[in-house]
Each structure stands twice: as structure tokens, then as C-alpha cells.
Amino acid sequence: MPALSLMPPEFSIVRDENKCVKCLACVRQCGFGAQQYDAADDRLYTIDANCVNCQRCVSICPTGALTIYKNPPPLRPHAYWTENHLRNIAKQAETGGVLLTGMGNDQPFPAYFDRLLLNASQVTNPSIDPLREPMELRTYLGRRPEAGGMMEGREERQAKTRTPLVPIETPIMFSAMSYGSISHEAFTSLARAAKEFGTMFNTGEGGLPGDLYDYADHAVVQVASGRFGVHADYLNAGRIVEIKIGQGAKPGIGGHLPGEKITAAVAATRMIPEGTDALSPAPHHDIYSIEDLKQLIFTLKEATRYQKPVSVKISAVHNVAAIASGIARAGADIIAIDGFRGGTGAAPTMIRDHVGIPIELAIAAVDQRLRDEGIRNQISLVAAGGFRSSADVVKAIALGADAVYIATAALIALGCHLCQKCYTGKCSWGIATQDPYRSRRLNPEIGAERLYNLLRGWSHEIKEMLGGMGINSIESLRGNRLHLRGVGLNEVELKLLGVKHAGEAM
Amino acid sequence: MKYVLIGNSVAAVNAVAGIREYDNEGSITIVAAENHYAYGRPLISYWLEGRVPNAAMPYRPQEFYAQNNASVLLGRRAIKLDPVAREVSLDDGTGLPYDRLLVATGGRPFVPPIKGLTPDNYFTFVNYDDVRRLEAVATPGREAVILGAGPTGLKAMESLVQRGVQVTLAELADRIWAPALDPEAAALVAGFLQDQGVKLYLNDTLASVRGMAGGRLELQLQSGREMTADILVIAIGVRPNVELLEGLPGVTINRGIMVGPDLSTGLPGVYAAGDVVAGNPPLLPHAAIQGKIAGRNMAGASETYQPLSPYNALGFLGLHIISMGNSAATGDEYDILKEIDPVTRIYRKLVIKDKHLVGALFLNKLDRAGLYRRLLEEGTDVTPLQDELLQPHFGLLSLPEEVWQQWLVE
């Protein structure tokens, strides 16, 4: 770092001395060294330049003595050269590096979920009260039988090689976050909550830690280009095998877990030497075509004796519908599509903020394309990337998804405050870190409870919204775009989403 | 079952508790030579200072005896024991039959033969009655000489100083409290006492005493030093009260009553606990634990008393000392770890021999003292901890993980 930083601190920590009792909890809990104590003078002080506004100190302070303020814009406000641009340029001028960030795209692109509204029954069709009437959220993931045999022996073989359907009790699963990118404690919290609620968690590309095989029946086990921790036991232990082609935070980019996060335990799970960089390049080098993808799908199916549905996860990109069609035809049982708001780990800032398309449009496009081709019913479609509430989930399903993956929301439930410093490994909340001093802050007992609570709350809200529409099964909502109306969307957007504008009749 | 406890101090009271853990029915009779319910003897100096009122002297509240269904015969002395008839005779002629008997008669102050010493020209410092007598004479401006600078002498010194009495300590050894303090620590304490205006004569003791007109005493020390004083306190040790068992078949007496591991004396049904027991340091914690175990064993348990190293906490005039084991040890056969700050009079010392902690001494910084005592008692190999032992953060986490994990769930 240069002797002189050209940028003033982004945040400023203010301590109310009248409230502070000098218990020093803030000093001990700050992951970034912004809170300091001088024992000789019995004095607390802050280094604002280190503050990332993760709010850990604010939350832990027993007296509420701390407040973090965004520093007022230090320069004349400029609508084009924003503070972000200035900071980034300064940082790159200092380091010459690729800008990194964490969590999903934070730029003010339109959120289509916020321009979609749901229907409700009035008079002509009774609402259903989910408190007293059965309401089915269970969703089955996997491939349905094809109609008609075309080749001799094909039907029989198909029956033998069709992978089983996987039931989930709510159409919400936890999305891929690898052990290594998140702490063992965060990973365990997800696994426990998934098992307790009857849904799935996703291992991400870092393997499944040995002590969590008890939860493998609720695991989507990922296979990514680096193949970390991938072996026959792992594949057979999981319930679903997922080939990761792309992820929403960084479409077209691979993963890179820096050597300092490859602790002994992470190394053992990934089955690589401690301290080496774990490189997952953008491509799988055995996949250059849909035909190659098919070979990996069937390699995995052969290796699991057709007992595990295979999912293929891609980023939502411009040609997503055609790619999804290819994936369906390549023999995948599930397609997972990750929108541009997705992402919980580290990503290069430019990629995160400027590559990919919104998940709402991607779901609509894929669902429509598969319907047009008559194969939508053969395969499950899972949407991911920025689900903030149960309403987002309901809208995604109405647009055509079978289920959704949530990750950012899950991490927020675990304590994440979106400080976007995942890549530093210093997470004060014990989530995106391998430092045992930090990770032990997240007791998985508590973490699992919080995640379970989130699923419980969202699931009940989904039931209420379904009931309002007069629907008693989540399956009846899937692709039911008549229950959606757009607000303030132009004709192209409405057409792509396949919804009418608010005010238009059925 | 009839239980008779001779003595009414810490050992006896704990024996009552021990008995009642196993036997709620049997009768318990306590024979107390003093006219007081049990009190912690070290409390007398605090009483004399005025820090503990009469009401706070009892070791256990009055209800303790009722709750435990124990009757106390105050001011009664047991004078004879008939082990065949299983009966104790008291000084008022009554006979107390027993099934189980505890001899917890404690000790009495040792008073050496000194020229001119008469029962009314000196004080001892062991009993409540001792300090009640002292209270009358210990008035501001008077002068006192205390013979013996051990824990008793030092506590007597403190209470007298607090009452405004000018105190001189005379100690035969070359330093204060020689069994617990090494020369370096003793010098720190001596410096502290001098700062408090206490005179100290070492390597010296009383040769003769003579009453003078006006009640003052003329004292001559062995060194030839002469002085006058109003008060003479003799505090050079205690001797166990073994008379009740003397000469009885099966009992061995060797500067105290010899007991088995279960604290039985060799006479059927007769146990002993506390200062009267041979080899037991005359310290309150040891008496309490022995009393409890003896009580349990009298009521049918079969518990073994694991001899406990001496340990003592002593504070006077704001200085605090904790000593344990061979805390005064010096010499090449020991590994000694030390931390010294002469200004604050902080002194911390650990004595290690053959990988084990055998002694510890703490002046004015008592942090985690009990932890060291546990290492000492359990005979832990402290070699791996050597660098940690005197660090400020020394604690459970300095020990091997399997040890502290176990301790945390105890």
C-alpha cells in the first residue's frame, strides 16, 4: 500500500462515550481492525479506514454506543464519475490488481420482481385459508418420463436409467456455497436446516466435509471444473449431483479459492494440498459442446448407477433459453439457472456488475422455450440469484420455475450484513472465513435455527399467497403467469416475461 | 446409632455434616470445652480488630445444630474414655455412651518455660477467650511484644496494630514465617512491616519476663536486648490435645494421634480429625476436610483421606500472602520460577522438583492461586507448562486440551 491513500475512509465509526462501558467487545469482535484499544491509556479508538460497515461491533455492543455512518461524499457529487468509480480507480492505481468484491450485483439495475404483482381471488373464486385447509408445497425435482418409444429397446432402457425424483417440502433450497468459501460452521448450519426442514443444501464445488455425511441425503453435491472433493463416495452420498457450469455472480469466470483459505480441513475436503490455490477454471475441460456435457452427465449417472438425478447449473446469460434446451436434451434431470444478482462469495467486480441477465427474464425465457419445444414437463427448472422474500419465490414459480435456490438470503439469516468483503477472509460474522477465531462465532445450532425459521416464515407466506389466489398446491402455480401482472414495464419486457400489464383482464 | 463428638470446632461441625449425609436418624452430641458455639479460630484476630462482631463469630448459624439434630454441651470437657464400655466421662461426672466417637480436641498453645512467666502476665492467641481478655488491655498507645512471627503472631500483630498498639515481633528464626517464606519473600514482608511501624527482632527470643509497677512488663531477650511492654503475646505454636486417648490400648500417639487412612484411631468406633491428628498441619482447611470424611466414615462410608499439602492464605495490614507446599524452598535441587516487583511488593514463586510443582508462594498477586494448588496436589507434570506457568494469561487453557476439556465438565 502506498504511504498516502488518496481516498478518505468510506465509513466513520462514532462511539457515544456516555454509553460506552469499555467492555471491549467491539475490539475483540471487529474482523478488520477498525476498533482498537490502548491499554496504557485505557482508551478506545477507531481506525475508520479499516471499517467495512459489517455492523458486527454495532450488533455486539451491549450498550448501543456505536453507530457507523457513511462518510459524506468527500468530493463534489458527480452523476457520471461516482464515488465508486473514484474509489476503484484509486485502488487499482495503488495495486494494479483485478477488483474483487463479494455478494451479488449491487448496481441499480431494474428488479423485475418489484414490477410484478400477484393476483388474489375476490368473489368469483374462493380463497383458501392455509391455516385450516391443506396446502401442498412439496415439490418433486427430477426427470419425468418421455412420451412414446422411438427405438427398439429404448423404452425398457429408459425405465432402468431414469433417475428417481427428489421431494422437497418447500420449493426453496439453499444454493451452492462451497466449504472453503464459507466456514464449516456456516456450511453445517445450512446442512442441518435443510435436513430439518426437508429441503436441500448444495455443497458448492468444494466437496462435502467428512463430518457432514450424515446430512448428505439432503445435499446437492456439485461437480465443477476443478473437481475438488469429487469421488464416487461423494457422488453416491448426495441426493442430487449438480454440474456447475456457471454461477450468477461471475458468468464465464471460474472460481479461485486463494491458498490462504485452504486450511488443513478445507484441504482434506477438497483433497488438495494445504495452502495451494484451488483453481476452478471457467470451462470444464471435458465440456466444449452439448454433446460433451451429455457425456459428463452420463459419466456421473453411470458412476451413481442412475440413482442420482443430475442437475446442470448455468448462469443466466443472453442465450440462456437455447442453452437450457440443450441441457434438457443432454439428459440432465434438473436445470438450475443463476441470475445476475446471484453470488455470495468473491467475484471480480466488473464481472459481477456487468455480466449476465436478470433471473426473472431468464426463467420466463427458458420456461417458454422448453414449452415451445414440448419438453418443459420432462425436466425441473430451479431458479437462483437474488431471492429476497417469499414474494420473489412465488413470482419466480409463477414465471415458470419449479423451485428456487437461495443463498444471499440464507447468509443474511446467519448474520451477513452484505459488507461485500467475503474475498478478504476476515468476515466478522464467522461466515466467509476459515479463521477459527472468527468462524466459531457462528454456532451452527443457532445458525440452523435461524435458517429453519426463515424457511418456515417464507413457506407459510407462500401458502398464504397461494391461498389468496385460490390455489392449494405449489405445482398449480408453476408457469401460471396469469397470476402475474406487470407494472411500469414496456411491451418488450411484458412479452419476454409473458405477463399482461396490471389492469388488463384475464 | 449414637455419635459423640469431642470438640466443637471446624472438624466437629464438618463431621456433623458428614454424618448427616449418610445417617439422618442417629443422635449426635457435641462436647465443647469452650462456652461458645463453633467458630473459625482464625477469626479471633478480626474480632479483636472490630471487623467481626460477636454475632458473626459462629461458624455455622444456630439453626445448623437444630437442622442436623445435634445437641451441644457447652463448657464441658471429656476427661475419660472407656473404649470397652464405649463411654466418655465428662468433667461434670456424666457419662456419654457412644457408638461412634470423634476426637477433635484440637491443640493448645505451646508456652515454653520462660523465667518469670506467670499465667496472668502473658496472652496466647488461639481462642475467642484469648482475644476477649486482650480486648480489655489492647488500647491505643500501649506497647506489645509478640513472641513468634508465624501466622498467629502476624495476625495478632495486625489486630493489635489496628487497635493502636505499638507492636514488636520477636522471632527465633532468621526470618518471618520461616516455614512458608523464603529469605527474599520474608525480607519483602519485613520491609512492609517496618513501613507500618512494626518492630521486628529476628534470631531472638524471650529469655525472661518481670512484672513492673503499673502493670508493665520488663522483658529481656536472649540476645541481651531489654525492653518494656504492656502486653506479651506468645504465639509460637500449638500442641495437640491428645490426653483423652493417652495410654489406651491400640492407640498410637506421636505428637498427635496416629490414624488410619479412614481416620480411625485403632479403638473401635473412635475416629480423630483436625489438629489433634498426628502429621496433620494445624490448618483449618485440613481440619474441615478430615472432619467431613471422619463423619462420613463414622456413619458407614469408607472414604480415604488423601493427605493434603499445607496451604495457607494470610493477610495483614493490606498485604496478602498465599503459600502452599514447600513454598520456602531454595537450593539447587529445585527449579524455581519467580516474578518479583519490590515496589508493589509482588512476589510470585513456583517451586518445581522432579517435574512436579511442590510449592508456590504468592504475595500481593493471587491470580488463579488455586489452579497452582491443584497442579501441586495432583502431581501434574509441569515441564511442558514451564514457560506458561507465570504468564499473566496462565489458566485452564494452558493445560493439555484433554485436561481442560475434562475440567470444564466437572
Binding site: 495503488e94 469421488h231 495451494t276 | -
Partner: protein
């Protein structure tokens, strides 16, 4: 010993038959007339021996964990893809991404190999995979290699032919590559350097050459007659300074 005639069998049928035989205790199995059937041995965990006559299809021995496979013929792409353990011996050539992300076990190839062979090879604890190639290798040999050993022999190399293609070991950050003879420095990725094998390496190369020669009826001494070049990465964090923290 069991024999299966693979002629005209769909790979799903063939592989299911193989697995059933192995499940039922078969420890030696001969496949005849294999012609492009894929995924043979994929995910198989038994300790057994499989002899293949013909040309197996892609992803032979993928995710395999313990089997010994000997192929009398060529193999195609993805031999030993993400293989965990076992041995594969191929009497002909193999194609691209042989040993992709291989973590354990050994592959011996008498002939040439295609592109990106040994890509993402790893090592972990006692797992230290090995690929020995008798002939030449295509481009991106040992790309992203993170552990294990690649041994490239270049036997019977026509004069003027390069032993390896371009971009050898780009992105390599662990393990070691041994190349019999020299490799043109222009062809090396910027993450690796060429060094002389150590005495311990020579010892290991002798053992490897001995085993290789044994499988293919060659003379180890002749293989060892030419000195080897060893390629190792400059460090295990090739992209450690890429990012602005």
C-alpha cells in the same frame, strides 16, 4: 475369469453387466469386441482386473476407485477422468484430457496422447497420481496441474518431431512433470521452470521405467538411457497477486 462379448451392446447395458459381475464377486473380466462404449469402469470401486479388447469409448475409468484396466487397443477422450485410484494400462494411444483431475492411481500409455493430458491433476495425502506416456503429447500438457506426476517418454519419436505440443504446464502450481530429453523452452507455460531431476527423482524414474517396460515388453535401460528434464512450478500460488484487496 469371465468373458463378455460387447459387440453391439449399448453402453448402459454393457456397463450394467460389468457392474453386476463385479458385484457378484467376479475378479477377472475380459471384454471382447469393445467398440466405442463409453464410461467403462466409471465409478467402479472393486479391486478387480478388467481386460478390454477393442477400443473403449470416452471417459474410460472415470471416477474409478481401485480397478485395474488393461486395454489392448486405443482409448478415446477422458481416460481416468477424476479417477481416485486404480491402474489403467493402454497398449495404444489415448486422446484428449487423459487423467483430467485425476487424484490417485496410475495410467500407463504405450503410444501418444492428445491435448490437455493431466490437466488439473492433484495430490492429497497418500494419493499421488501418475501418468506415463510412451510417445508424444499434444498441447496444454499438464495444464493447471496441482499435484502428482506426468512422465513423457517420447519413445520412437520421429526426427524433428516435438515431444510435446505448445503451452506445456500452463497454470501448473503443484506436482512434477518428467520429460525424457529436452523440451523447447518456447513451449513452456510461464508458470514453470525446467530443472534437473534429483537423485530421489532418478530412483523413482527407474522404478517407473521398470514398471512401464514390464507392461509393454520394453527395456528399461533404453528408456533411461536419455536424461530427463523435470518441470516444476515457480510457486503454488500462481495467481496470488492478481487481485486488488
Amino acid at each position: 475369469m469371465e468373458t463378455l462379448n460387447a459387440r453391439s451392446l449399448h453402453y448402459q447395458v454393457l456397463n450394467e453387466s460389468i457392474r453386476n459381475l463385479l458385484d457378484n464377486g467376479c475378479r477377472e473380466l475380459v471384454l471382447k469386441n469393445v467398440n466405442g462404449q463409453r464410461y467403462i469402469g466409471a465409478g467402479v470401486r472393486q479391486q478387480a482386473r478388467l481386460e478390454i479388447h477393442g477400443v473403449p469409448g470416452n471417459n474410460l475409468a472415470a471416477l474409478m476407485d481401485g480397478l485395474e484396466i488393461e486395454v489392448f487397443g486405443n482409448a478415446q477422450d477422458g481416460v481416468g477422468n477424476t479417477m481416485n485410484d486404480g491402474t489403467v494400462i493402454i497398449h495404444g494411444n489415448t486422446a484428449d484430457i487423459t487423467g483430467y483431475s485425476m487424484r490417485g492411481g496410475r495410467i500407463f500409455i504405450r503410444g501418444n496422447v492428445g491435448y490437455r493430458v493431466g490437466i488439473h491433476m492433484k495430490a492429497f495425502q497418500d494419493k499421488n497420481p501418475l501418468i506415463v506416456i510412451g510417445g508424444q503429447a499434444g498441447d496444454f500438457f499438464g495444464e493447471y496441474m496441482a499435484g502428482g506426476n506426468l512422465v513423457l517418454l517420447g519413445l520412437d519419436l520421429p526426427p524433428g518431431e516435438a515431444i510435446a505440443g505448445n503451452f506445456v504446464a500452463t497454470g501448473m502450481h503443484g506436482g512434477a512433470i518428467f520429460i525424457r530429453g529436452q523440451v523447447d523452452p518456447e513451449r513452456l507455460g510461464k508458470e514453470v521452470k525446467a530443472v534437473a531431476p534429483t537423485a530421489a527423482d532418478q530412483q523413482r524414474l527407474q522404478e517407473i521405467a521398470g514398471e512401464f517396460a514390464g507392461y509393454f515388453n520394453l527395456e528399461a535401460e533404453k528408456i533411461l538411457a536419455r536424461p530427463f528434464t523435470k518441470l516444476i512450478p515457480y510457486n503454488k500460488r500462481p495467481y496470488g497477486t492478481m487481485y486488488a484487496y
